[in-house]
C-alpha cells in the first residue's frame, strides 16, 4: 500500500472523527486532519506549510468580508426591503417569469466576479426575502440561491475555474461564452422552476403587501437604491472597459458601496453593522483557513498526486465517472483547487475526444458545482445563512438540480465534437 494512501486515510479519518464524533468546528477538524497527515508522512508539524496553505485565500477573505459588510449595510439602510416591495408589486402576475428574473439577478454578481460567495451575499441577500415572502419554504429558497450563485460563477464573462484550466494548458480564455451559456442558462431555469414554481402559482398581492415594508421606499425614494446601482455600475464598468476603468477589485467595490449605503437611507451605526457582518463571517473564514492547510498537506505529502494519478489510471469510462464524482467532490475542499489540480490533467487526457474549448468549459462548470459540496459548500453555507437555516436542509434540495447539471454536462462532454461552432 502506498504511504500516500495511508496519509489520505489519516487526514480524512481525523477530519471526520473531529467533525462528526467530537462535534468540533469544520475549521478545527480540517486542521487536525492536516496535522495528522503531516505526522503520518513523517513531516512533523510543519507550521510554515500549514499557514502557507491559507494564503491562497487572503483575497477570498477580503471578498467575503466586504460582501458581508455591503449586505449588512443595505439591509440596515432599508434598501433591501424597498427593493423587495418593488419587485413583488411589479412582477407578481407572471410568477414563472418573475422566478427566472430573480434567478438571473442571483447569477449576475457571480458572472461578473466569478465568485459564488459574492453572488449569494449580494444578490442572494436581495432576492431571498422575496422568495420567502411569496411562500417558497426556507430550505428551497436557500437551494435556489446556492445553485443560482454557482450558475453565475460558471457563467461568462468571468469563470475563474475555466481560466485556471485554460491557463494550465496555455489556452487563451477566448470562446468560452457559448458553451458556458449553453449549460448554465438551462440549468439555472430548470432549478428555479423545479424548486419554486409550485409555490407561487396563485399569489395574493394584498396578502403579500402586508408583509412588505411599502414605506421605506417612499420615504427615501431613488437615493435608497444608489449603493446597489453603484455596485452594478462599478462591477460592469471594470469588465466592459477594463482599459479605461481602473481595476479597483471586487473587495474595494463592495466596501465603497457599503460606505455609500450609510448615507442613502435609514441611519445606522456603521461600526456596529461591521461587527455584526464579521460576526457571522468569522467561522466561514476559519473554515477556509482549515481548507488551505488541508490542501497544502495533501500536496506536500503526495496524497494529492495519489488522488490524481489514481483517477487517470482508470481508463476513459472510469475517467468520466471520476469527472462527475471526484472533481466536484474535490470542490468540498476548494472548487478552484479542483480546477487546477484535477481539471488540467483531465483536460489533457480528453483533448482528443472533441472540441477543446468546450471540454475545458464543461470541466470548469463541473468544478464550480463543487461549491455545493459539504463541508465547505461555500455557496450552500451562505445561502443557508441568508435564509436562516443550517446548510444540511438547503443542500438536500440542491441534490436534484446538482444531478441534472452533472447529467447535462456529461451529455455535452460526450458530444463536444459537435459543439465547436459555439466557441468561434
Amino acid at each position: 500500500m502506498d504511504i500516500e494512501l495511508l496519509v489520505l486515510l489519516a487526514m480524512l479519518g481525523v477530519f471526520l472523527i473531529g467533525n462528526l464524533l467530537l462535534k468540533l468546528p469544520v475549521s478545527l477538524s480540517m486542521i487536525l486532519g492536516a496535522v495528522a497527515g503531516a505526522l503520518v508522512a513523517g513531516e512533523g508539524v510543519p507550521i510554515r506549510h500549514l499557514f502557507e496553505g491559507c494564503f491562497t485565500y487572503v483575497d477570498t477573505i477580503l471578498i467575503i468580508s466586504t460582501a458581508m459588510l455591503f449586505m449588512t449595510a443595505i439591509q440596515r439602510s432599508g434598501a433591501l426591503e424597498a427593493l423587495n416591495a418593488l419587485i413583488v408589486t411589479k412582477f407578481y402576475k407572471v410568477p414563472a417569469l418573475m422566478l427566472i428574473l430573480l434567478m438571473f439577478i442571483v447569477m449576475f454578481p457571480g458572472m461578473i466576479t466569478g465568485s459564488s460567495t459574492a453572488a449569494v451575499l449580494s444578490a442572494g441577500a436581495i432576492v431571498a426575502p422575496i422568495l420567502l415572502k411569496i411562500g417558497i419554504p426556507k430550505a428551497r429558497a436557500g437551494a435556489i440561491l446556492a445553485v443560482g450563485a454557482i450558475m453565475g460563477m460558471a457563467a461568462p464573462p468571468v469563470n475563474i475555474p475555466a481560466m485556471l484550466i485554460a491557463g494550465g494548458v496555455d489556452m487563451p480564455y477566448i470562446g468560452f461564452e457559448g458553451p458556458l451559456f449553453l449549460i448554465t442558462i438551462p440549468c439555472a431555469i430548470f432549478t428555479v422552476l423545479f424548486l419554486g414554481l409550485k409555490y407561487c402559482k396563485n399569489l395574493d398581492i394584498e396578502e403579500l403587501k402586508k408583509d412588505l415594508d411599502m414605506e421605506v421606499g417612499k420615504k427615501y425614494g431613488f437615493k435608497l437604491y444608489i449603493p446597489i446601482l453603484l455596485l452594478v455600475v462599478l462591477l460592469v464598468l471594470t469588465r466592459a472597459v477594463p482599459k479605461i476603468m481602473p481595476q479597483l477589485g471586487t473587495p474595494l467595490i463592495f466596501l465603497l458601496c457599503a460606505v455609500v449605503a450609510v448615507f442613502t437611507g435609514r441611519r445606522f451605526n456603521a461600526w456596529e453593522g461591521g461587527l455584526e457582518a464579521m460576526d457571522t463571517t468569522i467561522p466561514v473564514l476559519a473554515k477556509l483557513m482549515g481548507v488551505g492547510m488541508f490542501i497544502q498537506i495533501l500536496t506536500l505529502t503526495g496524497a494529492r498526486g495519489y488522488i490524481v494519478v489514481s483517477c487517470l489510471g482508470w481508463g476513459l469510462v472510469a475517467l468520466y465517472i471520476a469527472i462527475c464524482t471526484i472533481m466536484p467532490g474535490f470542490g468540498a475542499v476548494s472548487s478552484y483547487g479542483a480546477a487546477s489540480v484535477m481539471g488540467v490533467p483531465f483536460l489533457l487526457v480528453l483533448l482528443d475526444t472533441g472540441d477543446q474549448i468546450t471540454i475545458a468549459a464543461l470541466l470548469s462548470f463541473i468544478c464550480c458545482l463543487g461549491d455545493l459540496m459539504p463541508p465547505t459548500a461555500l455557496a450552500g453555507n451562505y445561502a443557508a445563512q441568508i435564509v436562516g437555516l443550517k446548510y444540511k436542509p438547503v443542500l438536500k434540495h440542491c441534490v436534484i438540480p446538482f444531478l441534472v447539471c452533472i447529467a447535462l454536462a456529461v451529455i455535452y462532454l460526450l458530444n463536444s465534437k459537435y459543439m465547436g461552432f459555439l466557441t468561434r
Binding site: 500516500e4 508522512a41 507550521i47 510554515r48 506549510h49 499557514f51 502557507e52 496553505g53 491559507c54 494564503f55 491562497t56 487572503v58 483575497d59 477580503l62 466576479t113 466569478g114 464573462p157 468571468v158 475563474i160 481560466m163 485556471l164 485554460a166 491557463g167 494550465g168 494548458v169 496555455d170 487563451p172 480564455y173 477566448i174 471594470t238 469588465r239 477594463p242 482599459k243 481595476q247 477589485g249 471586487t250 473587495p251 488551505g292 490542501i295 497544502q296 498537506i297 500536496t299 506536500l300 505529502t301 503526495g302 494529492r304 498526486g305 495519489y306 490524481v308 494519478v309 487517470l312 489510471g313 483547487g337 487546477s340 489540480v341 488540467v344 490533467p345 489533457l348 487526457v349
Partner: protein, 378 residues
Amino acid sequence: MKKIPKRIWTAAALCLFAAAVCVYLGVTFSSMWKDQPIYPGPGVTEIQMLSDYNPGLKGTHGDTEVYVLDSGKPGAAVLVLGGTHPNEPSGVVAAVALIENCQPKTGVLYVIPRANHSAFTCTDPQEGAPMFFTIATPGGDRTFRFGSRATNPIDQWPDSDVYVHRTSGQTLSGSETRNLNRAYPGSNSGTFTERVTYGITELVKQKDVKITVDLHEASPEYTTVNAIVAHQDAIELASWASMDMQMEGMNISIEASPTNLHGLSHRELGDFTDTLATLMETANPSQGRLRGRTNADLVVKGVDKYYVRARKAGSVTVEFTEAGIPIDERVARHICGIEQLCKAYNELGNEQTIELDGLPSYQEILTNGIGYYLSPGK
C-alpha cells in the same frame, strides 16, 4: 476591583498565541528574502542592474543583476533569462552556471539569472514546495531558492479579478497578473511586473540583442515540454539548433509561438523588438500536478513514482522512468540549447557572430553533475 471576564483572558491568550505564530512565520518566510551569492567567472566583465534600463525599478525588489560577459571583440549580443519562474529551478541554475563558466570569444552575452527577482522571495501557497534546495559541488553544497511562479504579493497586490494584457487586450485569469511571462513587453508606468518586463524589453532594444533565450521548465504532463518555443522569425534558428541537440542525444521538438497567446517573451519580444525570441522548456516533476511527495529531493533528483505510473498509463508524453529527470539533465539541456542556438546563428551566415567558450558539453554535465561546474563558494 471589577473582575475581568473569562472571555477576555482567553481572547488575550489566543492573541498571544497568534502573535507567537506570526513571529515564527515572519522569521521563516523572510529567510527567503536574501539573495544567494553568485560567483562571477572569468568571462564576466561587468555587473549591471536592470534599473539601468528602467530606472523606476531602483530600490525595489524588481531590480536584479544583469551579468555582462563581453568578449571585447565585435559580434552579436545574446540575452539569457533564468528565473522568469523561480519554481522552475533549472533555469536559474543554468544561468548561474553560464555566469560562472562561460567565456565568449566574440560578441556579448547578457545573463539575468533572477529575472523575476521578487518571485524568488516566496513560495506558492498550496504547492507544498521547499524553500531551498542544494546542489553538491566538489567544495561543498550550494544552496538555491525554490521560489514562486509569480511576483511576491507583497510587491504587487491586489490581483485584478481578470488580467487584461496591456498591448493586446487579451484576458487571462487574475492570478496571471503577477506572471512575468505574461507581462511582456511591459510598461514603465504599469504594474510592478510590467515594469520588470519593460526593463528587459529596453535592454533587448538598447543593446540590440540578436537572440533571447528564456529558460523555463514545465510539468511533465504538459504538452509543450522538452521543446524550444520560437517566435516565427526564430523558427529557422531553433530548427538548426534542435538538429544539433538531437545529435548530442537529446529528444527535442520545435513549437511555433502561438500568435494569439500574448504577454509571453517569445511572442512580444519577437513582435516588439528585433531579437530572435526563443524559450526552452524541460520537464520538471516538482511543479507537476501528478507528483507525489514534494521536497528538495524531488527538485534535485527528479524521481517520482507517480510520474512513472502515469507514464505507464499513457497520461504523460515525456519519457519518465524510475531514474527520474534530475536537475543535472535539465540544466544540461538548457546549457547545450543555448550553445547550439548561438552556433546555429553563426552557421546561418549572420555577419556578427557569437562564440561561447568554457561551457561543459551535455554529456560532460550528465557524467559529472552540474555541481562540478558550479563555484564551491567562499
